[in-house]
């Protein structure tokens, strides 16, 4: 009988799994082996992660509940059930966040000579004087206090802003029964959240809201301030755009961006111990209750810790900044096209520099033989050299086609600006396909060479963003393989709205072909296992939550395929289910760099195949996006990719192993040589380029010596 691998109990709720991921990030903040200031960074990340999580995931679950959507998720839970679970879990993690902050981080900072004054009352007299002066000179002019009474409605509180709510009482009205009124003031986001205070020994800082609280009386003259407490709200922000209705996508997104300020309030964070009456007003006005309210024991919105990380003078408490290394294959070669003609080049960022990718476009822009440059852009950096190069190329008379994905979440505004800039420069800008996000990362350079057209292609797992390329681990392939070149041309034709090609040589594309391709590749391992052969899959990605793919993996595991998954984030697959997933291991590496590459290895009965791509095993990647999976055909490059996978499999410092009970455990390091994959790759990249290139030009002549005795 065929086993059913799709039972809900075999799956984990994806939000629950995501919260586990944020717990792992928090784990890094709690880890005493992490340099103190790096811990600040991780703690800040957990906070911004939660913000995004609420804005999108929690918001859409709320939407489901509101419209009475009853369909169950992968783990058999309704939206209501999920919300209950999530909020409970987030409450737990948030209290862990703040106990880390209060009990671990603050004392450690103090020990290192940095005092964070948590209550304005605790300042020294000199500090108070400084703070008050700072308030009058810098803060007061930009504050806009707002009160609510019968003639003034409750003001619009902006999404994600930090505010101070107060109850105020009109003075000198003693005869009548005075009622307290509500007033609020936004903590200005234009001012730094952290204010450094004068200090006799060591350094001290205080948060802006404390300084405002201390001086709040100055805002409401003739009133008595009964109490003042910070609060912060989160609104439903997931963009829902009806593309069929929206004639002009660009305009529609601009319109939606304005609307984002007005979404339903889905989370209220208040200071623990907030005045009951004040809280009651907020609850009523924001129409919120229960677990949606977070009572915070500490400062709201920990993302200020990222700013604290930036304080100078604490370099010894941070990781040494890593400089991405040159790519060995490109070191003796100024002409990137000539280098690619020699052989395919694998890039591994951020260990290797992102420059070749930028240079690829830059050089193409200048090269008189280049006819056309085509590129997909999803998220780019603020002042992107790639955009500049593309504009330059268009001005140089090249045909430049750029697919700009307007729907890249939270980058919409940014994307519109430079899309217009590119259009102005004469680029042919396409805005993607209706209903599909273009997530693939591909660049095509068409060159007219002596013996005909030659196409150079860059395919990547990460965005064309030179800033994030220093922080995200990603892979890229530079090739001039004819068959990939042809496919690349077809990809851009398809993205421009032309018919799909009759067949693909090498690439597999979502949303049409990629899912089936993965089924095939997994299914082939299953067959080899059933035939008694060796079968092995190693897959590295960001998230795994596609039900069908997981079912195929269970089926493969049950057939005896060994499956090792390296999944940084969400993983809805459960390990260790008897007869279902005993042959599957899942590890998550959360380190200094954000693990972002997608690499897939299939043993294929001894003829190994390795693929890379832009897609995770998530329904949205496989069904709703344009994604590309590309094979590594050159054996040397395949070996390099396998090396990356095997080092990650050996990591015992930053890796967490998924346990059958759903928890993630770090590896017991006793008696083992410590290996941190990210550090290893950093070191390796340095070593690879350290070999002296040209001994003749060395100034020092080194006399030969007999080999030293060991």
């Amino acid at each position: 009988m065929e086993a059913d691998f799709t039972k809900p109990e075999y799956y984990r709720n994806r939000e629950d799994s995501w919260i586990s991921f944020n717990e792992r990030v928090l784990g890094e903040a709690r880890d005493k082996n992490t340099p103190l200031f790096e811990r600040l960074k991780f703690l800040s990340i957990t906070s911004s992660n939660f913000d995004e999580f609420f804005m999108i995931r929690v918001a859409s679950l709320k939407d489901m509940v509101n419209v009475g959507y009853t369909k169950k998720d992968i783990a058999g839970m309704t939206a209501t059930e999920q919300l209950a679970l999530i909020l409970k879990r987030v409450q737990e993690v948030v209290s862990l966040q703040y106990s880390t902050y209060n009990r671990s981080i603050l004392p450690a900072l103090k020990q290192q000579g940095l005092e964070v004054v948590t209550r304005h009352e605790d300042m020294t007299e000199a500090q108070k004087k400084y703070a008050d002066r700072y308030f009058e000179e810098n803060v007061y002019p930009v504050l806009t206090p707002m009160a609510m009474d019968s003639s003034r409605p409750f003001p619009l509180i902006r999404n994600k802003t930090l505010n101070i709510g107060a109850l105020i009482l009109k003075q000198g009205d003693g005869k009548k029964e005075a009622t307290a009124e509500f007033a609020t003031v936004q903590v200005p986001s234009v001012l730094p959240r952290i204010i450094e205070l004068p200090c006799e020994s060591g350094r001290a800082v205080i948060l802006l809201e404390e300084v405002i609280e201390r001086n709040i009386g100055k805002l409401f003259l003739n009133y008595k301030v009964l109490c003042a407490h910070p609060y912060r709200i989160m609104r439903n922000a997931d963009l829902t755009i009806d593309e069929d209705e929206a004639a002009d996508l660009l305009k529609e997104i601009q319109k939606q961006l304005k609307k984002r300020q007005w979404g339903e309030v889905i989370r209220l964070e208040v200071e623990e111990g907030m005045d009951k009456q004040l809280l009651k007003i907020l609850k009523k006005e924001f129409n919120i209750r229960g677990d949606d309210i977070f009572r915070i024991n500490g400062p709201l919105d920990l993302t200020f810790l990222m700013k604290m990380y930036g304080l100078d003078g604490f370099d010894k408490l941070k990781n040494k900044p890593y400089t991405p290394q040159p790519v060995p294959a490109l070191m003796d070669q100024d002409d990137i096209f000539a280098a690619i003609r020699e052989h395919d080049i694998l890039l591994h960022h951020p260990y290797m520099t992102f420059d070749p990718v930028v240079n690829f476009v830059k050089q193409a822009a200048r090269d008189p033989e280049v006819l056309a440059i085509k590129q997909t852009l999803y998220r780019v950096s603020g002042n992107s050299p790639i955009i500049a190069a593309l504009a330059q190329a268009a001005e140089n008379g090249k045909q430049v086609s750029v697919l700009v994905e307007l729907k890249a979440r939270f980058d919409e505004e940014n994307n519109i600006v430079w899309a217009k800039m590119l259009e102005k420069a004469g680029c042919h800008v396409i805005y993607g396909l209706v209903g599909l996000k273009t997530h693939s990362k591909i660049t095509l350079v068409v060159r007219k060479e002596e013996d005909g057209i030659r196409r150079y292609v860059h395919l990547g797992t990460g965005n064309y963003n030179d800033s994030t390329a220093k922080l995200y681990t990603d892979c890229g392939l530079l090739t001039c393989s004819e068959s990939i070149g042809e496919d690349a041309t077809a990809v851009f034709n398809m993205l421009s709205g032309y018919s799909e090609p009759k067949h693909w040589n090498k690439l597999s594309l979502a949303p049409i072909w990629l899912r089936d391709r993965f089924y095939e590749l997994i299914g082939r391992e299953t067959e080899h296992a059933l035939a008694g052969g060796q079968a092995h899959i190693v897959a590295k990605m960001n998230s795994l939550c596609d039900k069908e793919i997981i079912a195929k993996l269970y089926e493969a595991s049950a057939a005896g395929v060994k499956i090792d998954l390296i999944i940084r984030g969400i993983c809805c697959l459960k390990t260790g289910i008897p007869g279902v997933s005993e042959n599957i291991t899942v590890r998550s590496i959360v380190g200094n760099f954000l693990e972002h590459a997608r690499i897939f290895y299939f043993h294929n009965n001894g003829q190994p195949e390795v693929y890379m791509g832009s897609a995770d095993w998530m329904p949205r990647n496989l069904d709703k996006r344009v994604e590309i999976l590309f094979p590594l055909e050159n054996e040397r490059i395949r070996e390099e990719a396998l090396h990356i996978l095997s080092i990650q499999m050996e990591d015992n410092v930053k890796a967490h192993i998924l346990q059958p009970d759903g928890s993630y455990e770090k590896i017991d390091k006793r008696g083992k040589v410590l290996l941190c994959a990210q550090d290893f790759f950093c070191k390796e990249a340095v070593e690879r380029v350290a070999v002296p290139k040209d001994p003749v030009h060395d100034r020092v002549f080194v006399p030969a010596e007999p080999a030293a005795e060991e």
Partner: protein, 505 residues
């Protein structure tokens, strides 16, 4: 030679496509890019008789984008061709004008035989085994939306081509009304086709052995997965898909569902043809009109060399027609050699080219076919036969020129009559005059049909076209009837043909 880039644009009935080709001295001709866009021009034309303004604008937008792509590749030459959907549209001249104005492209309307010839060229060049295949009996089948074209080969020559007005789109539309009433769509489609096929078989197939069937175009290659299958394999695939819905086929074989719905009727047509012809192997080169346009361009510009002589096909097809109408074979042979010798000697004076030489040759071959119908009205009947007989490789205009040359071989030439005929210009009128003059002289030399003028030397000398004959036969008849033909010839070319007989004993 530097690398050359060429664009071939195909404005079809439900798709507009462009392919970019590269010709380089060291490499073979290579396709660099291919874009294709759905646009139902045929729907407009077939339903309303013309293409709507909205569709024309869409077409112009697409073609403008094509121009952008062409510029991107620095294309040095292009050819844009439209087929039946534009050809049959009443407003086709306005369409061409609008396209020229908004895109700068000159769109050319191909008539059926030109189009089929290009399709055929794509196969002859693109199918590596073509030369080998046609050594045995072969048929090329091209199933279009409105008609089926069947071309037959015999001894490596294309001998006949016939158009059957029963295409996949037509069948699909006819079936659409009936689908609700029956479950046996397949059987009904077969019935629709059978009737048409029966006459074709009786007239042209006879007992020809057709071992190979070459299938042009379409998505059939995606269905059968390899470029050649045996009949048995075809049967297996046919049985597997015939019961399926188009969406299933689209999903299972990864082809667009619009095409999938056309594949079912196409497959039924192929199946019936295979059965009727007893074909053993089915070849699918998977080529399209754009490929043919590119090969044609390459051949004309000597960028590639053809293994196959396409003019031989045209000549062979003409001979088959002549044979069918029982023309006098030896008379034709003799006339061909006379007419072509005169043509060649006149080259400097006449300004005619190789293509026009071919037209003369075809005119000679077909000049007597009308006698089969009516002895006294042979010329008029020949004209009608030629106008009704499709000869692959000749355009309608060329065929009309031939028909006129044949007609005015005996009639007095009429300027008005010729210019009234569709598609003929003053230039064509001049060409018809010139070719007629040559045909008349040649014909006069074999008036008796006895091939008295078999040893002939032709010279241009002393302002005369001297025809030296080495014969002991009595040529009084020829000489007697010669002067009026010679008068006309002199009028046209300003050189007088004279007969010089050298008596051999």
């Amino acid at each position: 030679m530097a690398v050359k880039m060429f664009a071939a644009i195909d404005v079809g009935s439900y798709e507009v496509g462009m392919k970019i080709f590269e010709f380089s001295p060291r490499r073979e001709m290579k396709q660099i890019d291919s874009v294709c866009c759905r646009l139902g021009l045929g729907k407009d034309t077939y339903n309303t008789g013309k293409i709507s303004v909205k569709k024309i604008e869409e077409l112009c937008a697409i073609l403008n984008d094509f121009v952008r792509i062409m510029n991107g590749y620095k294309v040095s030459a292009y050819r844009a061709c439209a087929t039946s959907s534009v050809r049959e549209a009443r407003n086709h001249l306005l369409i061409l004008e609008q396209i020229k104005r908004t895109t700068g492209l000159s769109l050319e309307i191909l008539d059926n035989s030109e189009q089929r010839f290009l399709d055929y060229k794509s196969i002859a060049f693109g199918e590596k085994n073509f030369y080998k295949i046609i050594q045995n009996g072969t048929a090329i089948v091209d199933v279009g939306s409105g008609s089926i074209q069947i071309s037959l080969f015999d001894n490596d020559k294309l001998v006949t081509t016939q158009n059957i007005r029963m295409g996949n789109l037509r069948i699909r539309e006819k079936m659409a009304d009936l689908v609700r009433n029956t479950l046996h769509i397949e059987a009904m489609a077969e019935e629709l086709i059978n009737n048409e096929l029966a006459s074709f078989k009786k007239m042209y197939l006879k007992d020809r052995q057709v071992k190979n069937l070459i299938v042009a175009g379409d998505y059939i290659l995606e269905l059968l997965k390899k470029p050649m299958v045996e009949t048995g394999e075809f049967r297996v695939t046919y049985d597997a898909i015939i019961g399926k819905r188009p969406e299933e086929i689209a999903r299972d074989y990864g082809i667009p569902s619009e095409s999938a719905s056309l594949i079912l009727p196409s497959m039924t047509i192929y199946k019936r043809l295979i059965e009727e012809m007893g074909a053993e192997q089915i070849w699918m080169p998977g080529l399209s009109l754009s490929d043919g346009i590119a090969y044609d361009y390459a051949q004309k510009n000597k960028l590639i060399r053809a293994e196959h002589n396409f003019e031989d096909d045209i000549v062979a097809a003409a001979r088959i027609v002549a044979k069918r109408y029982q023309s006098n074979k030896s008379h034709i042979r003799n006339l061909e050699s006379l007419a072509l010798s005169i043509f060649d000697k006149l080259k400097k004076i006449s300004g005619l080219d190789a293509r026009q030489r071919l037209l003369l040759q075809i005119a000679v071959i077909l000049h007597g076919c009308g006698k089969y119908i009516n002895l006294s009205d042979g010329a008029e009947c020949s004209y009608s036969i030629i106008m009704a007989t499709e000869i692959i490789g000749l355009s309608n205009r060329e065929r009309r020129i031939i028909a006129n040359v044949v007609k005015y071989n005996t009639f007095e030439i009429s300027y008005e009559d010729i210019l009234e005929q569709p598609g003929l210009t003053e230039k064509d009128f001049m060409l018809i005059m010139k070719l007629t003059a040559i045909l008349r002289v040649a014909n006069a030399l074999d008036r008796s049909h006895k091939q008295k003028f078999s040893e002939v030397r032709i010279l241009v000398k002393d302002g005369e076209l001297q025809i030296h004959v080495d014969t002991s036969e009595d040529i009084t008849l020829e000489k007697g009837l010669f002067p009026p033909k010679a008068d006309y010839f002199e009028e046209v070319f300003h050189i007088r043909p004279v007969i010089r007989q050298k008596k051999t004993l």
